[in-house]
Amino acid sequence: MASQPRLIEDHIRKNKRDTVVICMLMVILLFSLIFAVGYILGAPPILTMILALPVALFYIFITYSFSIQSVISAAGARPVNPQNREEKLLSYKVEEMALAAGLPTPKVYVQDSRDINAFATGHKPADAIICATSGALQQLNSEELEGVIGHEMSHIQNRDILVMTVTVGVVGAIALIAEIALRMMFFTRGQSNDRKGGGNIIVLVIAIIFIILAPIFSRLTYLAISRKREYLADADGAYLTRNPEGLAKALEKIKADVPDDPKGSKTVAPLYISNPFKRALRDSIWSTHPPLDERIRRLRSM
C-alpha cells in the first residue's frame, strides 16, 4: 500500500503519453481513410492530401470542443437538484472524492434512468463532469455510491476522460465515412477504373480493404485500451476510498440489475462504469468493459 501514491503518479504520466499517442493514431487513421476514399473516387492525390489533413484535424477539434455538451445531451443528463436529499448526498460524495484525489470538484449531473450506472466526462480535471443515474442513487447505499464515485474520480485523475470522450467521436466518424465510401463506390468505381487503367488495381484493392478494416481497427484499439483503463480506475478508486468492498458490492448490484438501455446509451456506453446494454452484448470482445465478475474478483483480492 505504501508505494501506491508513487505508482499513481507514474501511471498518470504513462496514461497522458498514451493519450497523445492514441489521439495521433486516430488523426492518422482518419486522415488515411479520407485519403483512401479520395483515391478510390478518383480525386488527384495532392488535392486529397491538402484537403484530408485539415478535415481530419478540424473534425477532431470539433469533437474536442463539443464533446462535453454532446455527451451530456445524448444522455439527457441534468444538473443535480440540491433540494433533493439523494442528489445532495451525491454531490457531497463527489466533493469528498475530489478532496481525496486532490482535484478540483467536478460538476455533478443526474441522468433519470432506472439503471444503476455512472460516467465521467470532460477534457481535463478542471472542467470534468460526473453523472450518476437516478437508479444508482436509489439502489446504492452510501458506501457503494462512494465506490462508484471513487472509480469515476480515478478516470478524471488518470486523464482517461479526454481520450475516452474524443475517441468515442472519432471512432464514430471513421465508421460513418467508411460506410458512406463503400456505398458511393458502387456508383463511381467503373468511372475511376477507366481513368486509372488496370495497373492500379492492386492499390485500389488495398484502399478498399483499408476502408473496410479501418472502423474495425479503430474500434478494437480503443476497446483494448478502455478495458485496461477500467481495471486501473477500479484499483485507483479503491485506493481513494480505502474500501474496495464498496465498489465490489456496487458492481454486484449492477450485475443483478437488468439494464434497459438508457437514453443515448450508444454514444455514452464506453464512458459508463458498466456496459448499459442487455446481457447478451456484455462480456464479448466488442465490450468496452471487462467482465463484471473479473472486476469484482480483483477488487476482493486487494
Binding site: Y92, G102, R242
Partner: protein, 187 residues
C-alpha cells in the same frame, strides 16, 4: 575534428543534462511541497466551516434537548478547542473531540422523535457528517502527499538535492488516540 573539442562537447552535454535533471527535480520538490500546504489549507477551511455550523446546531437542538446539558457542553467545548487550536496537531485533536461529541449528540437525538423530524436538524446533521468526511478525506490526501514528498526527498539521488535545497521530511497527520474509542452513550 580534434580530440579536445570532442571531449569538451561531451563534458558540456553532461553538464547540460545534469542541470536539466536538477531543474526538473527542483520543480517536482516544490510542486509536491505546495500540494502538502494546499491540502492543509483545505483541512483548515473545513475545520472552520465545521466550527461555524455548531452554533446553528445548538440553536436548533436547544428547545428539545435541555436535559442533555453534558452532551451539549461537550460539543461547545470541542468547538472552542478548534477555534483556539494553534498547531495542526492541536486542530486535529480538537476535531476528533468534536467528532466524538457530535456522535454522542446524534445518538442521543435518536430518542427525541420531534427533533429527528426537524428539517433544519436533518440538514445540519447531513452537513456536519459531510464536513467530517471531507476532513478525513483531505487528511488522507495530505498524508498521501506527505508520503510522496518524503519518498522523493529521502531516496537516492533525491536526498542529495534535498540537502542542497534544505528540505526536510514532513510529518503525517496521525489520528489522535481518542478517536479510536467508541463514544459512550448513556440514556
Amino acid at each position: 575534428m580534434d580530440l579536445t573539442l570532442i571531449i569538451g562537447l561531451i563534458v558540456l552535454l553532461i553538464v547540460v543534462v545534469v542541470l536539466l535533471w536538477f531543474f526538473s527535480y527542483y520543480n517536482r520538490v516544490i510542486r509536491y511541497e505546495n500540494r502538502i500546504d494546499n491540502a492543509w489549507a483545505q483541512i483548515d477551511v473545513q475545520l472552520k466551516r465545521r466550527a461555524d455550523l455548531i452554533p446553528n446546531l445548538m440553536e436548533t437542538v436547544k428547545g428539545y434537548m435541555n436535559h442533555e446539558r453534558g452532551t451539549l457542553e461537550a460539543v461547545t467545548n470541542a468547538r472552542s478547542a478548534i477555534m483556539t487550536a494553534k498547531t495542526p496537531r492541536e486542530s486535529m485533536e480538537a476535531n476528533t473531540m468534536l467528532t466524538g461529541a457530535l456522535k454522542t449528540l446524534f445518538a442521543v437525538a435518536e430518542s427525541y422523535p420531534d427533533l429527528k423530524a426537524n428539517q433544519n436538524f436533518l440538514q445540519l446533521q447531513d452537513e456536519l457528517t459531510h464536513t467530517e468526511d471531507k476532513i478525513s478525506y483531505t487528511r488522507q490526501h495530505f498524508n498521501d502527499s506527505v508520503l510522496q514528498f518524503n519518498n522523493l526527498i529521502e531516496t537516492f539521488p533525491g536526498n542529495i538535492f534535498a540537502n542542497m535545497m534544505g528540505k526536510k521530511s514532513r510529518e503525517m497527520l496521525q489520528i489522535p488516540e481518542a478517536s479510536r474509542e467508541v463514544p459512550k452513550v448513556s440514556f
